[in-house]
Symmetry: C2
Subunit: 342 residues, 2 copies
């Protein structure tokens, strides 16, 4: 039985893009908005829980790759129950189902009681998976899994991963552990080497080390690391690709520096079979065949149920607490995700 | 009947890499070298004719992507008769055949009476094709054809091509003309616009124009140009890719600026499905299935026989005239290729 859908909903609203992150967070307001209606190929979801990723923080500052019309509800992912659907079979099949979802690239996002998104951006969630894991199941776990599939397709014996302290990196290490594929972890601070070592990582380099590029060249050659999973962008990434073996590929999925990719060696592209491409999960859901997504979902959700892939949770908050809790979150991101339950 | 192979051969020898092009050309010497022996997977070719491409000029300066051990015989392509082969079936099948060839990436090149190269880098030549066309049949015509195949595979309605005054660009325009695929030609000097217009080109932009990037954005959007065939590299190429529509690809096959590729938009890679790759003909011959190469050869050589694809020839010279004639060649490259007949 589908519950009655109200006309209004509570939502966190961003009134304007503000380059300063603290000011952007403080500008967030709770408002009453009309509950949106799903078009064909879309569903309306009653949000059980949502979260805040680095991409959300970048978005509210206006520095993310996706910009939406203002005022706007932020929130790129979440979980909830499909309570209304567009007039097409695929969408109707999701009615009353519990899903994790990516927000629509143009419409209001997940920091609200209700949200409309594309049906293709919804994944049914196994009943054993707790709500807080489901709330952040796509942007990190699915991205990690999809990127790791690319590494396997490329038959890379090893891959390079920067931003290695992040949760996504941890998930990719878990996936790699099961296969024997080696990981070259790149961290920014010397102290982080010890932390990853204690978690069982074998290969960790610090990009602040004077001798970093030499160490990197040596290790990439020794392990035959031919895929570079890059969340950082900028000149250093280009230089690192240049130092990797022939036929290496750089897959950019984030740009923490906010910089363009530069120093891409012309000779490497022309003579050494290297190339540069990008990845984003929303496009992956739009373009990957249904059967493949179903297969990935089955395998990945099994790992999540068994705790092999796990998002660390910092705390749960209500919509009206978002602003304050996000400021605490950015001070210590490695403590885990904030889960927002409307 | 295979003729007796002498022990010594005349060859043009480069004694050292010299960053100055004129000095590099002047340093070339005629020497008597031992005729090399083909290994397995290789053939010995008695050279009928060879040529000088921009890549050769870059090579003798030491600024090309391929560097060989010195002293070395330059010359990346040519034509001749296979007079001796390695002990394998594929190579033996080429004995006594007339071929066009790419030089070996490590061994002495084509500016000699004899040359050894990999069997995979040899293409039998149709008897109707004159020696001077066969001498420069691979690096321009085959590259043009292979690049154009990529454009067709990508289903691009239009493509962007810089270095549009070059012979390869002219060949790609011929191929495009037959298909209705539009070409955006990029030239460096205003006066060149008129020259290409008179040859029948519709879309020509000059990168020196103050308003170039705006014009380019508009035209790429209007024609839905999603492939960028780049012989130049550098920052401008990165900026141009950024201004092209979603899902555009940059294919780098040359680096006339000598610069790395920079300004590759992180957002374009992550959110707009763009990517960057390279092309080189030697690798194409190594990795493309035999049947595909045979099919391409059949179609392309038919076009060459009919004069639809034609290399402009400046003059024919002997080995001992190479040095002097190359200096005249670089002064006016658009006059056509120098053909060297040993």
């Amino acid at each position: 039985m589908t519950k009655k859908i109200p006309e209004k909903m509570k939502a966190v609203v961003l009134p304007g893009y503000n380059g300063n992150m603290i000011k952007a967070i403080k500008s967030l307001e709770i408002k009453l908005l009309p509950v949106p209606k799903p078009d064909k190929g879309q569903v309306l979801i009653k949000v059980d829980a949502t979260t805040c990723n680095p991409s959300d923080l970048s978005f509210i500052q206006g520095s993310y790759g996706i910009k939406k019309e203002l005022h706007v509800v932020p929130g790129f992912e979440g979980t909830g129950i499909v309570v209304q659907t567009g007039n097409d079979e695929t969408s109707k099949n999701l009615l009353d189902k519990r899903v994790s979802f990516n927000a629509h690239v143009k419409l209001n996002g997940a920091w609200a009681e209700y949200v409309v998104t594309n049906t293709k951006q919804c994944i049914p969630v196994h009943p054993d998976i707790p709500v807080e894991q489901a709330a952040c199941m796509l942007i990190n776990p699915y991205t990690a899994y999809a990127l790791f599939e690319l590494i396997k397709e490329r038959k890379s014996k090893a891959f390079v991963m920067n931003a290695a302290m992040g949760q996504l990196a941890g998930m990719m290490r878990s996936l790699a552990n099961e296969t024997g594929i080696e990981v070259i972890n790149i961290v920014r601070k010397k102290a982080q080497i010890e932390i990853l070592k204690n978690k069982g990582s074998k290969h960790i380099l610090c990009s602040a080390d004077d001798n970093f590029l030499n160490q990197f060249t040596e290790l990439a050659k020794q392990l035959e690391a031919k895929t570079f999973i890059d969340a950082v962008s900028g000149e250093l990434s280009g230089k690192m690709l240049e130092l990797m073996p022939s036929n290496s590929q750089l897959i950019l999925y984030g740009a923490l520096t906010g910089e363009n990719l530069s120093h891409i060696g012309a000779k490497d592209l022309i003579f050494f079979g290297k190339n540069v491409t990008g990845f984003n999960l929303i496009q992956w859901f739009e373009t990957t065949p249904k059967e493949k997504i179903r297969e990935v979902s089955y395998k990945l959700q099994e790992k999540i149920r068994k705790g092999k892939i796990k998002t660390e949770i910092y705390k749960k908050v209500k919509l009206k607490e978002v602003s304050g809790s996000l400021i605490r979150y950015i001070i210590n991101m490695s403590a885990g995700k904030v889960i927002i339950e409307p």
